[in-house]
């Protein structure tokens, strides 16, 4: 892919015309500025975006957000909507970590109040919240209980006292997607994840304590209870081995049937089946179950975080008053209604490394956010800013109600590992006042800030393009890495 293959549509939007490759069914569009464009041209992400434009039943455009980077099958940052009922659904277009997402918790605390106790808080969070490769947690479930989680999502945690009604109201889909079917999930998935509920995992997953650095939209910030100097906490994780196994199983199953539906694809990881087919319906029901597992997982981590704050700060500061601001998915396929070429259509929106960003007035938003639009949570790279945004009319009109999900990597893990010493990175972050608790120094190096794009630049693009609006900027004070 070269720059001459691209057409600039508007200051932050580029298009790869349908004529670029014979098998494209629609043009591909992506959001970027000049620098992010060069970064996208630096790996295979735009080729992957073109590949995703070949999916049967795709409507309008194959889209990518400014945090686009090379993944497998779809690029990370990709958004594809397919018509229903006969367009396709692609497990690879959701990814292995089904409903990987972000939760933001607010507190009543300020930076000054907890500054003397940050070390204890970071250590307590590390101790209480299971993290790292292969770590199980305290919630080991029977098969029957796991099936309840599949059906009930975060509501399972509510019934057991690990959640509040407000937590659920402020979670995408209220923490439970209807239509999950435990029988469409393999015994291996249940076995793989039997002790993984309430665990963070490894890789780029984290728990982070942040301070609200700046507020850009007073009205939206007030609705979320955000104010400058406030302490908040983020959770980034997904469905753990449960979702990984669901995706693995259905990618394998779809390989066997893709020819039955006469589907030709440029990459086997894009394997798919018509949404209306038995295979497509089975995957959708299984994916919803894995998504519910992820909502419940982040809910149980919320419970552990509340406990950690209590243990570390009791008697030292006022009640932290931890409350949920919002919880969003960024790896998911959802059946939604959108306007396509002037016509209302029900479509299957695949978001792989992209966040739903519904605008003001959407009936699926909780009352408290209906006037401002859906909160969008965009974590930056470790040690850099994170952002709170809201969805807009522009995101509904341009991008199937979607926007970016993070900073986006720009350097391979292997190169980051060569160029960054984990111990040195930890020292640098500590010198900047950021407490770091990491299971592995090598893993820490892979997640170094220099391996990522500039998140502030990514945010300027989505804000400038009108597919999200800035609300507040957060800066980290403590990080627990998976």
């Amino acid at each position: 892919m070269n720059q001459q293959d691209l057409k600039r549509i508007s200051p932050y939007l580029y298009e790869i015309p349908r004529e670029h490759r014979h098998d494209m069914r629609v043009p591909a569009r992506f959001y970027a500025d000049a620098e992010l464009l060069q970064q996208a041209l630096g790996d295979k992400s735009l080729d992957q975006l073109v590949n995703s434009a070949t999916l049967p039943g795709i409507v309008a455009y194959a889209l990518a957000m400014p945090d686009i980077h090379q993944g497998y099958g779809f690029p990370i940052g990709g958004v594809v909507a397919t018509e229903t009922p006969d367009g396709v659904i692609s497990p690879g277009g959701v990814g292995y970590d089904i409903n990987c997402g972000v939760r933001l918790l607010g507190t009543r605390l300020t930076r000054d109040e907890i500054a003397p106790y940050l070390d204890q808080l970071a250590t307590q969070l590390q101790r209480d919240c299971p993290h790292g490769v292969g770590r199980g947690g305290e919630f080991e479930l029977s098969r029957k209980e796991m099936e309840e989680v599949v059906r009930e999502g975060a509501r399972w945690a509510l019934k057991r006292g690990y959640a509040t009604e407000m937590d659920l109201e402020r979670t995408e889909e209220n923490g439970r997607i209807a239509g999950a079917d435990p029988d469409k999930i393999s015994p291996r998935a249940y076995e793989r994840a039997r002790d993984q509920l309430g665990t963070l995992g490894a890789g780029n997953h984290f728990i982070e304590v942040d301070v609200v650095d700046e507020v850009f939209d007073e009205t939206a910030a007030a609705a979320m209870g955000l104010f400058p100097g406030q302490i908040v906490a983020q959770i980034h994780c997904g469905s753990r081995g449960f979702g990984h196994q669901v995706c693995t199983d259905y990618v394998a199953r779809f390989q066997k049937v893709v020819h039955k539906y006469n589907i030709q694809l440029p990459d086997r990881e894009l394997v798919c089946a018509p949404l209306s087919s038995p295979e497509g319906q089975d995957y959708l029901a299984a994916m919803k179950g894995a998504a519910n597992f992820a909502f419940c997982n982040r809910q149980l981590l919320t419970h552990l975080i509340r406990r950690s704050f209590d243990h570390a700060l009791r008697g030292k500061v006022a009640n932290p008053g931890i409350y949920q601001i919002y919880d969003i998915a960024h790896n998911m396929a959802k059946i939604e209604e959108h306007e396509v070429n002037g016509k209302r259509m029900t479509v299957c929106v695949h978001r792989k490394g992209a966040t739903r960003a519904f605008g003001p007035g959407s009936p699926v938003l909780p009352d408290v956010y209906r006037a401002i639009g859906q909160p969008v949570l965009v974590p930056g790279s470790m040690g850099t800013a994170s952002w709170v945004l809201v969805g807009t009319e522009g995101s509904m009109a341009q991008s199937f109600g979607s926007t970016c999900h993070g900073a986006g990597r720009t350097m391979s893990r292997s190169r980051a590992k060569k160029e960054v010493q984990g111990g040195e990175l930890r020292r640098e972050l500590e010198e900047r006042g950021i407490r770091v608790r990491a299971g592995s120094l090598a893993g820490l190096a892979e997640e170094a800030p220099m391996a990522y794009k500039d998140v502030d630049r990514v945010i300027e693009v989505v804000h400038g393009a009108g597919i999200a609006r800035k609300v507040a900027r957060l800066v980290p004070v403590a990080v627990v890495k998976g």
Partner: protein, 170 residues
Amino acid sequence: MARCNSNWMTFWIPFNFWSTDRGYNGVVMSDSDLPEDAIRVVEHTADWSLRVRGGDLAELFGRAAVGMARLLAGDLAAVPLDEVRELALVADDAEGLLVEWLGELAYWAERDGLVCPTVELHELTPTALRATTRGGRLPELQKHIKAVTYHDLAIRPYDGGLEVTIVFDV
């Protein structure tokens, strides 16, 4: 000649690449007997990718398993060899079988903390595999492999042998 007919591409590979019948009964593969370019890390922005080369399909599968064990454990010399497992798998084509093979080993790593630096392939065709693995459990793994992907996965002839590039979701 045997026809390697993956779903997405068709090419011709000399029959003996698919065969383990090269004067020995199967292939035993461990970290110590590998040429330098047998397993190489390939730059991948988000995930982890290995390019693996082998003289035939059995060598390729064996080396792919060793390469993944390196990712999981870091230093394979530290892995005990006290746990032996038997494995039999079938798939529709060679690439699918490779995903199944590595996927099974990745599952053992996640579920049991088991890393297998030594593998013995008793039987291998493009659609079936029977193997014995030898390895040990580690208290902590260096890397979590969520899945073995089909992304651009194609076993191709290369310089008298076979080559494949595998992308792991990490």
